[in-house]
Symmetry: C2
Amino acid sequence: MADSLAENKKNQAGNVPSEGIFFQGRLHGALAHRLAVDILKGNYKPGDILPHQIDSVESLNSTRTPYREAIRILAAKGLVESRPKRGTQVCERSRWNLLDPEVMGWMFETTPTDAFIKALFELRLINEPAAAELAAERRRPEQLSQMYASLMIMKEETLHTERGRIADLEFHKQLLLGTQNELLISLNSSIGSAIAWSTKFKSSDPIGSRDSWPDHLRVYEAVADRDSRAARFSMEALVRTALEDTRRSQGWKTASLSLESHT
Amino acid sequence: MADSLAENKKNQAGNVPSEGIFFQGRLHGALAHRLAVDILKGNYKPGDILPHQIDSVESLNSTRTPYREAIRILAAKGLVESRPKRGTQVCERSRWNLLDPEVMGWMFETTPTDAFIKALFELRLINEPAAAELAAERRRPEQLSQMYASLMIMKEETLHTERGRIADLEFHKQLLLGTQNELLISLNSSIGSAIAWSTKFKSSDPIGSRDSWPDHLRVYEAVADRDSRAARFSMEALVRTALEDTRRSQGWKTASLSLESHT
DNA sequence: TCTGACCCATTTATCTTACAATTAAAAGAG
DNA sequence: CTCTTTTAATTGTAAGATAAATGGGTCAGA
C-alpha cells in the first residue's frame, strides 16, 4: 500500500515505453490514478479530507509538485476541491464528472455497482439508437467503409480476441462519427471504455452471451441504406441484447430497464 | 494581452472575495482559463505547440509551478498533451472533453458556432425527453416539491431576472435528479451551463422568445401524474420551443433539426 | 552511392528542494 | 457577542538537478 511509486515508475521506465493505461509514465499521473481509485472505491468518502500535502507526499515517496499536479487533475474532474486551511476535500458524488473518459475507466477498475451499470445501459439505450438514426441520414462514405472494415474483422476474430474487441469499439466510434455531432462523438469516448469493459466481461463468460455480430450487421445495413427508422430499431435491439447478456452474466434478479421502445 | 495576471489576482483579492467565474481565486485557475479560451477561440489550433514553459511563464508574470498546474488541468480535459522534448501540443478537437462543464462554460465565452449550438440542442432533444419519461416513473416527493417551487419562482420572475433563470436551471436539475440515474444527472451539469447561456441570450432578445412557462407547467404536471408518455411529449415540446426561439434570435436560415419525434 | 540501424547530444518537460505569502478557520480578548 | 489575533493549511516563488524523447549524425552493410 505504502510502497514507493517513484521506484515503480523508474522500473517501468526501464522496461517498456508504454505500460498502457495504469502508469501514464509520469509520476503525477500515477499519483492521480492511485488517489482517484481510492476515492471511487470509497476509501475516501465525499466530505472526507485527504491528509495534508506534506504527509501524503512522504507516504507516497514523492514530492509536493507532482502531488499538487495530481490534485489539480482530480479537481478538474470534480472529484476533489482544495482550499487553504480546510484542506483537500472529496466532493459530493453528484459533482463528479462521471462522463469523463478517464473517470469512467477508473470506475471500471473497481467492479462498479449494479446501479452504475444499469445507469450506463440506460444512457446507451437513450443515445445510441438516436445516434444510429442520425448517422443513417448523415454518414459519409468514409464512415461507412470503416464500419464495414470493422464488421469484417469482428466476423473472423469474434469478441474473444483483443483485435475483435477493438474492431467492435471502432464500429461504434465510426457510427457516432457519422452523426456529425461533436457532442455525441464526445459522449462516445466516455461510453467507449465502458463498452470495452462489458464486452471483455462477457467474452470471459463461458456460457451465455449470444453472438452480437448479426445485430451489428443489421445496423450497418440500415445505415448504408440511409434507413433511419431501421437504424434506430436495430441499434436499440443491439443494446438491449448487450444489456441482457450483461444482466445474465452478472446474475441480476431485477427485470430489464423500464425505458419504453420508441420506434 | 500580456498584462500581469499576478497583479490582477492581487487586486481582485483586495476587492471582492469571489469575482465569479473568470477568476477562480487561484492563479493556476486564471492561467488555465486564459489558455483554454485561447484554445477554444482558435488562437492556438490543434497540433500547435504552446511556447515553452519558461517563455510562457515570463510573458504571463507567473512562475512555473502554477503554470504547470494549469497545463495539467487542460490536459485532464483533453485539450492539450505535453511530453518532454516535443512540448505542449493542442490535441485534436475530437479528443476535447466537450461535455466537461467547465469546458462547456468556456465554450460559451467565445460565441460558439452555429454547428455547436445545433449539436447541443440535438443532445438535449435526445436526452431530456427520455429523462422526463424516467423521472415520471421514479421521481420522489422531494424532487416534485422542488420542481414546484422552481416553477412558482419562474412564474413571477420570468427569465428576465437572475433569480428566474436560476429557478429554470433548478427545475431542469430536479427533473434530472428524478431519473435516479447518476450519468444523466452528470450530463445535466454540462448541459446546465449551456441552458444558462441560451436563456440569457433569449432574454436579451426584445422581440421573439415566447413564454416557456406553460411548457414547464405541462412537464411538471405529467411528472406529478406519473404519466411517462405525457412527460416525454411535453418535454420534447419544451426543448423544440427553446430551439425555435434560439434559432430565430440567431437568425438561422436552416430548417430545424432532422430528429423525428418518437412519442 | 544508397540504405538502414544505432548512438549521442540537445531540448524540453519533469522532479526536487527550500522558503515566502495568502487564506480562512479557530481561538482568544475586550 | 464582536472583533482581533493566532495558526494550520494550501498557494506561490525560485532555482537547480534529473530524465526522457526527438533529431541528427555516424558507421556498417548492400
